[in-house]
Amino acid sequence: MSNVIAIAQKELKGYFASPIAYIVLGFFSLMFGVFYYSVLLYFNQQSMQMAGMGGGAAINVNDQLIRPVFLNMSVVLLFVLPMVTMRTYSEEKRSGTIELLLTSPLTDFQIIMGKFVGAMALFLAMLATTLVHVGVLFAFGNPEWRPIATGYLGIILMGGCFVALGLLISSLTKNQIVAGMITFAVFLLLWVINWPAQFTGPTTQQVLNYLAITDHLDDFTRGIVDTKHLVYYLSFIAFGLFLTARSVDSERWRG
């Protein structure tokens, strides 16, 4: 366990020693701010209109404001997380420091978990910046906290999938640009994979919908924690990390 923490700390320090952490944090909070602001303007206009038309049910902050913001956030992550994971393994392989890790008394699992935890810590720091906006909502409005909490849970799980997959792709190449591009392409594919689903047969449609990574987030943002989605995300993360372990091990045998 202490080995995992040592590596996770090293990874996290590495992010902050290079510009990556600052670029990622800055870009993410900027994009989040833009989406938040535009959705908020729209929400304001809607509620003015509703009030002007003489009441009716008050529109729901959770449904009309927070949910769309969360869904937008998942798309921003798609662009940002490849930058976080692309260098994890490829850089170590390029500079030869992987030789230090693989000849130290560490198991492959400890190295992978260390890198996973390190990347997740940066990801959580990114999410922490969004708490400001949520705080503003609580100060001036009256949102439900439970759907917000499940929304964050969903985002964290989805981010975990991206990080696990990113680690795997990074372990396959020495070139971090290649790792970044492939990771981005795969994330994009997992996002749009069910767009043509409605034009296909019922079975294909189901399979495609199940594969689409962002679709599983929807229920979380509504405040529903469905085991189906939990299983999807957790098994995705576990499988990603398992394949990374295989990839690192096979590298040894191939030399």
């Binding site: 040592a6 090293k10 030789e99 230090l100 560490l106 030399g255």
Partner: protein
């Protein structure tokens, strides 16, 4: 301490290490000598558990590197060919991280980091980022990293590469010191390094071990005969014949003539010292004896002899036999 049995590593059809076996006892400094691409680095990588062998077995500090990798790695310090430094860490942070992953107890960590920094003379760069270090410092920080957990076995891949002459001497001295209680394997293609630091040499070529012995024995074994260099001033015309008549001398060759000074190369049967008789023969005839010294086959010649293809080797050795050894 280290036991390697029939180690083989193949990359597809290419055999990098072919049935290599050797042993190293505690406290011994074993030199790994061979041309580039001979399989030195591959063998070391197998010993450190970086990659598994295709066949054979390697036991380090009593633990099989395949079956008990964690135990073996805990007792092994490794300096790879390129020192594995993280460019954006300071030297102290880097060594502290290494100490953590090498299971140095928390309480000892700071003291250990300071000790190895002193020993490898990098303490003055403790707060410098690894990216900004010169080649010599990188190499020494890499060495510091290998020493952190006070391992029983040290495996050093070209530890003096990229150092300046003063640093080379310091590093060799450090390695010799370490040899007392650690078992050291070092690879190099600098020959004097082997004769100066190592107790025993393993010469490998094309993945095979071609010789294992002490540096002295290796040079002696390959010498079929003794060769003396003799320089005489104002020798008579019959000098060659007179020298050849000395008991034990098998061949006399003239190697250089400078005015009245003539240099001879004199061969005699192995193990037979003809210096006394030679000097007596020269002096009794009233010639000036300027120089008389044994010519030794240098390790360099041994190395070339062993690592060059059979057909060309004798020619090379023949050509070089007239040269004065480098050392």
């Amino acid at each position: 301490m280290i036991e390697v049995q029939n180690l083989t590593k193949r990359y597809g059809p290419f055999t990098a290490v072919d049935n290599v076996s050797f042993k190293a006892e505690r406290g011994e400094i074993l030199g790994f000598l061979g041309p580039n691409g001979a399989g030195k680095t591959t063998t070391m990588r197998i010993l450190t558990g970086y990659m598994p062998p295709t066949e054979g077995r390697a036991v380090v500090a009593g633990y099989d590197v395949l079956e008990k990798p964690i135990d073996a790695k805990r007792r092994t310090g490794y300096l790879p060919e390129t020192p594995p430094l993280y460019p954006d860490m300071t030297v102290r942070d880097y060594l502290d991280f290494c100490a953590r992953i090498k299971a140095v107890p928390r309480a000892d960590r700071k003291a250990r980091v300071n000790t190895v920094m002193e020993r490898t003379r990098v303490a003055d760069m403790a707060t410098r980022h690894c990216a900004k270090l010169s080649k010599g410092y990188r190499q020494r920080v890499g060495l510091a990293q290998a020493l952190l957990h006070n391992p029983d076995v040290l495996i050093l891949d070209e530890p003096t590469a990229g150092l300046d002459p003063k640093q080379i001497i310091e590093t060799r001295r450090l390695i010799k010191e370490l040899g007392g209680d650690h078992t050291v394997i070092l690879s190099t293609h600098i020959l004097p390094e082997v004769s100066q630091t190592c107790n025993r040499v393993v010469i490998i070529n094309k993945g095979r071990v071609v010789a294992v012995d002490t540096p002295e024995n290796l040079t002696a074994k390959l010498r079929g005969s003794e060769t003396m260099y003799l320089q005489i001033d104002a020798a008579g015309a019959d000098a060659s014949a007179a020298l050849a008549a000395v008991p034990g001398v098998s061949r006399v060759g003239t190697s250089e003539v400078r005015g009245t000074v003539v240099g001879y190369e004199i061969e005699s049967g192995a193990g037979r010292d003809v210096r006394r008789d030679l000097s007596a023969a020269v002096v009794s005839r009233g010639w000036g004896l300027l120089e008389l010294r044994p010519l030794r086959m240098s390790l360099e010649e041994v190395f070339l002899h062993l690592t060059t293809d059979e057909t060309t080797a004798p020619a090379v050795v023949e050509q070089r036999s007239g040269e004065v050894p480098v050392e």
